[in-house]
């Protein structure tokens, strides 16, 4: 597991009542006892940690938030996008 994934799992654990040690990339977020308000806090924490902005709306079902791995992929792609737009500017 790379650095981004490790950091994201740490953030998830920090926001869980009973953090589990068995969080893997294919773990669905729905298995983690995370409620809607927790998710808003987690997204905020991820944004703050990586200096990015994630377009997340609690009213929409988003595939990007299906599993731990999909969150990691989303974060990586946003980081890559902001890097390339930074280079262009």
């Amino acid at each position: 597991m790379d650095d981004v994934a490790t950091k994201i799992i740490d953030i998830l654990k920090k926001n869980m009542k009973e953090p589990s040690d068995s969080i893997a990339l294919d773990t669905p977020l729905t298995d983690l006892d995370i409620e809607s308000l927790d998710l808003a806090v987690i997204v905020f924490d991820i944004e703050d940690t990586f200096g990015i902005e994630i377009p997340y709306n609690a009213n929409e079902e988003v595939e990007d938030f299906a599993t731990v791995g999909s969150v990691v992929d989303k974060v990586k792609s946003i980081m890559a996008e902001s890097k390339s737009s930074g280079a262009a500017a």
């Binding site: 809607s36 308000l37 997204v43 905020f44 902005e53 709306n57 009213n59």
Partner: protein
């Protein structure tokens, strides 16, 4: 449930409204009937670094023109809205104001706000922390406090009885109105001004709401399949409530009777509403009014257009109304004026009373495709004529704080 015969009855003799679809009840109601939307791009503050850039702003509000006295020029926008709405309500009531002597002590003034003068606070923090000013404006504190709207209005109209603000997020207005209703009913007062006001649209507040991930970037579409969150609004709804005999004696024109009030708390979760809390508030209001579910013609729904509220409210209505739910007209006028937060239930109560007056149900706009989980008649996209005798107005706030009002026709 039969009510005691000697119970004091409470009527509405004046109402006032400030909203993104119009200032004053005539402009407001005419817009709602036509399905006009007051939601648009934010103009009150720069939206840099925000991805939510729409709101239901009150346009062209000039306090010099809209408020009675000079004291309101030194008040926060939220108090000015309350002053404007109270002015309209008092004028319509025909009461001789300011009240004199003993009469003042027999009157209440309960005007709440979800958050009070938060834009004044934001400005003062900007001056202190960003511009490194040595002091804030001397009126910062008085403008900010959540009781200043109530205090300003009491000063304006000589109300020397109970006066304070109420805070319960998006249920603030019905809680305030309901309190005045109970004070009059129980004999503490003979009349009162009740309502709420909100003017919290600024950069910091929008940023805070944005972080909760419940705002829609493109519009407020209650109960529709494509709904994707709520849209912040601002405004005020204020009423003159009066004991029925008191109003009759002075020959006042009665707009409606406030017949029922129910309040409950979910005591469960800060953001996820419960069917139990919402449905019990509706049931308590019905019991208070001595009405059956079949007596209600129209529900002005809380209808915030978040995924969870609209399903929960639909299920709660189904639980309380049973088969009678199929004959109800329901709408969320938030689709037009936005979510006025603490003032929401006040602004919406004006729509409820106008619906009784004109036998017209205002529409739910932006209703393009039904959601299978929201299976009631939401009056999609067009106002409807139907006989409206009793109206229920729902408010369900963050924290699980529920308040429901029921209005009926003027006593025969």
């Amino acid at each position: 449930m039969a009510q005691p015969k000697d119970r004091r009855r409470v009527v509405v003799t004046g109402q006032g409204v400030v909203s993104s679809v119009g200032i004053g009840q005539d402009a407001f109601w005419s817009a709602l009937k036509k399905g006009e939307c007051g939601i648009g791009e934010v103009t009150l503050f720069p939206t840099e670094e925000l991805y939510i850039t729409i709101a239901g702003e009150v346009k062209d509000f000039d306090p010099k023109e809209r408020c009675q006295s000079k004291q309101f020029m030194l008040a926060d926008r939220y108090s000015q809205f309350a002053g404007c709405a109270a002015g309209e309500a008092v004028k319509q009531s025909g009461l001789e104001m300011p009240l004199q002597g003993e009469k003042g002590y027999r009157a209440a003034c309960i005007i709440g706000s979800g958050i009070g003068g938060v834009s004044t606070m934001e400005l003062s923090y900007k001056m202190l922390f960003e511009e490194k000013k040595r002091a804030t404006h001397p009126l910062t504190l008085l403008k900010t406090i959540g009781s200043s709207a109530a205090a300003h209005v009491s000063i304006e109209y000589g109300i020397t009885g109970p006066c304070f603000g109420v805070v319960s997020a998006c249920s603030t207005a019905p809680h305030s109105i309901g309190l005045v209703y109970r004070m009059i009913r129980e004999g503490l007062c003979d009349l009162g001004i009740g309502g709420a006001s909100e003017a919290s649209l600024n950069w910091g507040t929008t940023r805070a709401w944005q972080a909760m991930r419940v705002l829609s970037p493109d519009g407020l579409f209650p109960f529709a399949k494509g709904r994707n969150g709520t849209v912040l609004g601002e405004g005020s709804g204020v009423f003159v409530l009066e004991e029925y005999e008191h109003a009759k004696e002075r020959g006042a024109t009665i707009l409606a009777e406030l017949v029922g009030y129910g309040m409950t708390s979910d005591a469960a979760d800060m953001v996820n509403p419960s069917i139990d809390g919402a449905s019990s508030a509706m049931q308590i209001a019905l019991d208070d009014a001595g009405l059956s579910p079949g007596d209600i013609d129209y529900i002005n729904a809380h209808g915030t257009a978040t995924t969870v509220n609209d399903i929960n409210e639909t299920r709660a209505i189904r639980r309380v109304f049973g088969n009678a739910a199929n004959n109800l007209s329901i709408s969320s006028t938030k689709s037009m004026h936005g979510h006025c937060l603490g003032a929401g239930g006040g602004v919406e109560a004006v729509a409820a009373i106008k619906a009784i007056e004109e036998n017209i149900v205002p529409p739910t706009m932006g209703f393009n495709e039904p959601d299978p989980e929201c299976d009631l008649d939401y009056t999609p996209n067009e106002a409807r004529e139907r006989e409206v005798t009793y109206v229920m107005s729902n408010s369900f706030a963050f924290g699980g704080l529920n308040a429901v009002l029921i209005f009926g026709p003027p006593p025969a």
